[in-house]
């Protein structure tokens, strides 16, 4: 067994008394957390907020209950979600945040080749509640399982699956309605 094979669960438990173990977690997961942030606030802000996420993790490590999946990412995404919300509150009026979807669509625009598709997604997500939108994007964008998304959002796995199902059904229905209307 090498250090590379040490599970996130062991690192998180060990970090309670040796916080420097979060450095190993950082090396392992900082790129994924950066991408999570980049998808929501744009890559420029992501660089600033990445440190905030892990600094918050230093304090939060004493309360962490590692997920059954063995990955620290659900926990880190939960912290990142809080950091993003705090950033949006601080930046109210200073970033092009869609008030309905709470998404920085300029950031989405950077990676979507057609403006019409950006609008499709914006409308589809606008039909969802915040909780539905979060679980959908954690699964679709971050690649979490529904159970891991539940951990990140502080939900039960059953509730996360239910919200994910509702989110997909409603978003797809919205897209269908737009297509039928020729939009």
């Amino acid at each position: 067994m090498t250090g590379e094979e040490v599970s996130d669960t062991d690192l998180l438990l060990l970090s309670r008394t040796r916080p420097e173990m979060l450095g190993v977690v950082y090396e392992r997961h900082a790129p994924a957390v950066y991408r999570y942030l980049g998808r929501r606030v744009g890559v420029r802000a992501a660089e600033d907020l990445l440190g905030d996420v892990f600094v918050a993790a230093v304090a939060a490590r004493l309360r962490v209950r590692p997920h059954d999946s063995g990955s620290a990412l659900p926990w880190l995404y939960g912290i990142a979600g809080n950091v993003v919300r705090s950033y949006r509150r601080r930046s109210l009026g200073q970033i092009p945040l869609d008030k309905v979807t709470a998404v920085d669509w300029d950031a989405v625009d950077e990676r979507l080749d057609a403006a019409s598709r950006r609008e499709e997604l914006r409308v589809a997500l606008a039909e969802l509640t915040e909780a539905e939108r979060e679980v959908l994007l954690l699964v679709a964008w971050e690649g979490l399982s529904p159970a891991e998304a539940a951990e990140a959002l502080g939900l039960t796995a059953v509730a996360a699956r239910s919200r994910l199902h509702r989110a997909r059904t409603r978003a797809q229905a919205t897209l269908g309605a737009m297509a039928q209307a020729g939009l």
């Binding site: 060990l14 450095g23 950066y34 905030d52 309360r63 499709e120 679709a140 297509a179």
Partner: protein, 327 residues
């Protein structure tokens, strides 16, 4: 458009560059240093109000008459079973008193904690060595947390190179570490610290504590930490024990044996205690004791670390490079 296709097309985002990741790592490292320094002190604060402080304060007022300190090698037979960690004592309570050796013909010496610590300081300062140019500082220790099993840890803390750790709790795997940081000090900074104890105390209070009400607790913890897993040279160790001798609230428990049966002298402040070897001033064991569960402590209520070997080392086990994270 199909929802899955739309989400898939919007999922890709640029990977971070090393520059993007560097500032986040710096922020984490800074927070980690502060947290590592405070981890024990914070627990102490949370444990307050349990009523034990008064008990411990009462213990502090006892003048301890002990014989073993007359002998630089206290006999294991004189240590009271109640104060021996090998006998699994209840560390939440102070020892019944220091061991009294009534059988010796020499007149007893009334010891207090200051005398014990100043003697330990002199012994530590008289040790040969000083390793300003060593490559690694190696520490072999065993750890016991709550009701969990005894775990074994080896750590190579790098002077200028990255370090590595093996811990049985983690299956004995090699854990890569950063360049050695010893309570916020680099290896070279440790060697540049003042070795006059009053100057050192001023420096530590000014730079390494939080300036709060509980600075004496933090200072006691800092002394113990620097005596445990750091390449602090003999002159610095001498100064550290002298600082401990002046910290209010430090009490002498008495002559004990540590978890592996080595004789030593136990001192304590609040819920934190040290067993030191009076012959050379080495830290043998550190512990935290509490009579109530500590939620943030994995596995239970108490923590104990026994330091079995400390020395400079020329090399450390190699770790394999971490594969680049994938999307």
């Amino acid at each position: 458009m199909d929802l899955d296709t739309l989400l898939r097309e919007t999922a890709s985002v640029a990977d971070p560059t090393p520059h993007n990741l560097a500032s986040g790592r710096s922020a984490l490292d800074a927070a980690t240093v502060i947290s590592a320094r405070r981890v024990v002190a914070v627990r102490h604060m949370k444990r307050r109000g349990l009523g034990l402080s008064a008990i411990l304060a009462a213990a502090a007022s006892l003048a301890l008459v002990i014989g073993p300190m007359l002998n630089p090698d206290p006999s294991p037979t004189v240590a009271s079973p109640n104060t021996s960690p090998t006998a699994a004592p209840d560390r939440s309570k102070p020892g019944p008193s220091a061991t009294v050796d009534k059988g010796r013909s020499a007149p007893p010496v009334t010891l207090n904690v200051s005398l014990v610590l100043f003697r330990a300081a002199a012994a530590a300062g008289a040790q040969p060595g000083g390793w300003p140019d060593a490559t690694y500082w190696y520490t072999l220790s065993s750890h016991h947390q709550g009701t969990g099993p005894m775990e074994r840890r080896e750590i190579w803390q790098g002077h200028k190179a990255a370090g590595v750790m093996k811990d049985t709790r983690m299956g004995g795997g090699l854990i890569p570490l950063d360049v050695g940081s010893f309570d916020g000090f680099t290896w070279d900074q440790l060697f540049a610290l003042p070795t006059d104890s009053r100057a050192l105390e001023r420096k530590l209070r000014a730079t390494s504590l939080n300036g709060g009400r509980d600075d004496n607790t933090e200072l006691f913890t800092l002394v113990g930490s620097l005596m445990s897993e750091s390449p602090a040279p003999p002159a610095l160790r001498k100064a550290l024990w002298e600082i401990a001798a002046r910290i209010p609230g430090v009490t002498l428990v008495g002559a004990v044996k540590d978890s592996v049966g080595r004789p030593g002298m136990e001192i304590r402040r609040g819920f934190e205690g040290y067993i030191l070897d009076p012959k050379d001033g080495q830290m043998l064991e550190r512990y935290e004791g509490s009579s109530t569960p500590v939620p943030e402590a994995p596995g239970g209520t108490n923590w104990r670390a026994t330091f079995l070997e400390q020395r400079p080392a020329d090399s450390a086990p190699a770790t394999t490079p971490r594969p680049k994270p994938t999307q």
